[in-house]
């Protein structure tokens, strides 16, 4: 059973930056494109090691995505790096038409996915990146929970031949998958196997969901917890199993409740196993500036907020 290692702190962006430089040494096909955010997204580590394969494209995300498509057509594996907000909102059409439609082997890495962007507020928060990317055919979408999963998933994303959207987060967060873990594209990971209420989570909020599981257990509620690092393709069988086991489902994500994990799970369950659901995520509104913990508390994205919704669903199931 995986336990949170609070002594091992690392942001997923940092883990990504380190792994990218490591992979760059092994795979000469990798080239990296940056839109003037290298020190924030951490592709600066790659840039220092491989200046000949690093391209500063300026604050011009649309053009950067086009370059990546062109480089991919010449046999390179371009990694496009910017904030999640700009990769998805700003360059949406380029991602769709120059990358996804022709199935170019481009990896789009959106840093600062979700709420936490150093107090930047609504312009820099990305609550719709997964929704946008999920609606684009041919896209693989990965949102890892910790540094270890980030590094494994990045290696898999580079190996995979086709477009990938890879979401990283800014905060330094603890480690979940210390020790024996193997990431696979499209595979969910069961973290708890209780039968009272199922939580399905993605990205760094899986850590909060796991803490929420502790709160639930203290109240005598045994939760099921499924972590889904791949949002597309979604692990349909694992989702249906979670719903079948517990009978009620709470999805957990640092993203809008429209179009993200909650929607993806609802799409599966409404078809294969209709189940009462609640969603933890950003309600249909723009974000704001604030410290990470303040944002989490205000929008119910912390363990207490998740546990509260899970208890509600459990009580509803029991007719309490």
């Amino acid at each position: 059973m995986y336990k949170i290692r609070y002594d091992m702190l690392m942001s997923t962006r940092e883990a990504f930056g380190k792994m990218l430089a490591e992979l760059g040494a092994r795979d000469e096909r990798i080239v990296v494109l940056d839109a003037d955010l290298a020190t924030s997204t951490r592709v600066d580590i790659f840039a220092k090691k491989f200046p000949g394969r690093f391209f500063e494209m300026g604050i011009a995300e649309q053009n950067m995505v086009g370059y990546a498509a062109g480089l991919a057509s010449m046999g390179f594996v371009p990694v496009v790096s910017t904030f999640a907000a700009f990769a998805s909102r700003r360059a949406c059409d380029q991602v769709s038409i120059s990358v996804a439609y022709p199935k170019m082997n481009v990896k789009i890495v959106g840093a600062y996915g979700g709420s936490f962007c150093g107090k930047g507020g609504a312009t820099h928060q990305a609550y719709e990146d997964i929704a946008i990317m999920r609606a684009i055919p041919n896209m693989i979408i990965i949102s890892p929970v910790d540094g270890i999963e980030t590094q494994q998933a990045l290696a898999e994303a580079i190996e995979y031949d086709g477009p990938v959207y890879f979401r990283t987060a800014r905060p330094d967060t603890p480690t979940l998958f210390a020790g024996d873990y193997r990431f696979e594209i499209g595979r969910g990971v069961v973290l708890r196997e209780g039968e009272d209420v199922a939580m399905i989570s993605t990205g760094i909020l899986t850590l909060d969901a796991l803490e929420a599981a502790g709160i639930l257990q203290e109240q005598g509620i045994e939760p099921y917890l499924l972590h889904v690092p791949t949002l597309k393709p979604l692990d349909r069988e694992a989702v249906v199993r979670a719903a079948t086991t517990a009978g009620v489902v709470v999805t957990v994500e640092d993203h809008s409740v429209i179009g993200g994990l909650g929607s993806a799970v609802a799409e599966v369950l409404s078809r294969y196993r209709p189940t009462y659901m609640a969603m933890v995520g950003m309600e249909d509104r723009f974000g704001e500036s604030g410290a990470d913990a303040e944002l989490k508390e205000k929008y119910g994205l912390n363990a207490a907020g998740i546990a509260k919704k899970a208890v509600q669903m459990y009580r509803a199931k029991k007719g309490l």
């Binding site: 053009n63 086009g66 480089l71 046999g75 022709p102």
Partner: protein, 279 residues
């Protein structure tokens, strides 16, 4: 370098076939962009019948020159040229725009042999061409990249992002060509969103600027060869053209931007094209 009269005549005759096929395709499909296909006919012809190092028998040959049809809506002209060059059969042209066809309204690289990049959403092709040129340089490949842009397409900001970056990276294995036909969907480019002074704009972005009569085969050829010899910066060829060129009632008007000819209009247009060259 110049072309002999015989070479010019051979290309001209093939370009006439392209024009005729464009009209038949668009008439048959009752859809397609005729004006911009006809304005680009000589540009595409000189590229595919003379300048580009490509192999229709081996369309994915890694060391081929690349061509990006950034003005993807002129797909009828592109497909008719690819057919004339031997990438696809002329018979297939009449499937253009039909359901299940390999010849989509806008080019799809995964469907049509010889198409190097999917295009259609305007403004994206130059960035892709830049990426190809950069990739060719990183691999030390003697590959030249050509990108054909519409003039209306230059309204898109991404074109100028790409222009800035191509100069930064000194992409001298890249040639952009602007089909300067002066007319976009709604009307004249200078009324819609003025582009002039266009040559000065490209110069200010760090490009070598050439211009040619976009219907003069010899002039186009010479300028494309000259563009190849420029070192240290990218080159753009402004090809002055006429929208709907070759069919009197289609020339110079936005009305034929994306209109399909009727039976009678097709017959009239084909007569004009034949008559012009005495066939």
């Amino acid at each position: 370098m110049s072309l002999t009269d015989q070479e010019v005549e051979a290309i001209r005759s093939r370009v006439r076939n392209v024009r005729e096929n464009v009209l038949r395709m668009i008439h048959n499909a009752a859809s397609g962009h005729v004006g911009g296909s006809l304005s680009a006919a000589e540009i595409l012809g000189v590229l595919y019948f003379k300048v580009l190092r490509v192999d229709p028998q081996n369309p994915d040959w890694p060391e081929r020159d690349r061509f990006v049809m950034s003005k993807g809506h002129a797909s009828a002209g592109y497909y008719a040229t690819l057919a004339e060059a031997g990438f696809i059969s002329p018979a297939e042209l009449l499937t253009f725009d039909c359901i299940n066809s390999r010849l989509q309204g806008h080019p799809d690289k995964n469907k049509t042999p010889g198409v190097d990049m999917s295009t259609g959403s305007l403004g994206q092709g130059l960035s892709v061409g830049c990426g190809m040129a950069l990739g060719a340089r990183l691999k030390n490949l003697d590959v030249r990249v050509y990108v054909l842009l519409g003039d209306g397409e230059l309204n898109e900001g991404q074109v100028w992002e790409a222009a800035m970056s191509a100069a930064k990276y000194g992409l001298d294995n890249l040639t952009a060509i602007v089909d300067r036909n002066n007319v976009q969907l709604v009307g004249p480019t200078e009324e819609n969103m003025p582009l002039e002074p266009l040559e000065e704009k490209w110069k200010a972005f760090g490009w070598e600027v050439l211009s040619a009569d976009g219907h003069d085969i010899r002039d186009l050829y010479e300028k494309l060869i000259r563009a190849r010899e420029i070192k240290g910066k990218p080159a753009v060829l402004i090809a002055r053209t006429m929208k709907g060129k070759g069919v009197s009632f289609m020339e110079g008007t936005a009305a034929w931007h994306s209109k399909a000819p009727s039976d009678a209009e097709l017959a009239m247009a084909l007569r004009e094209l034949g008559g012009e060259t005495g066939v």
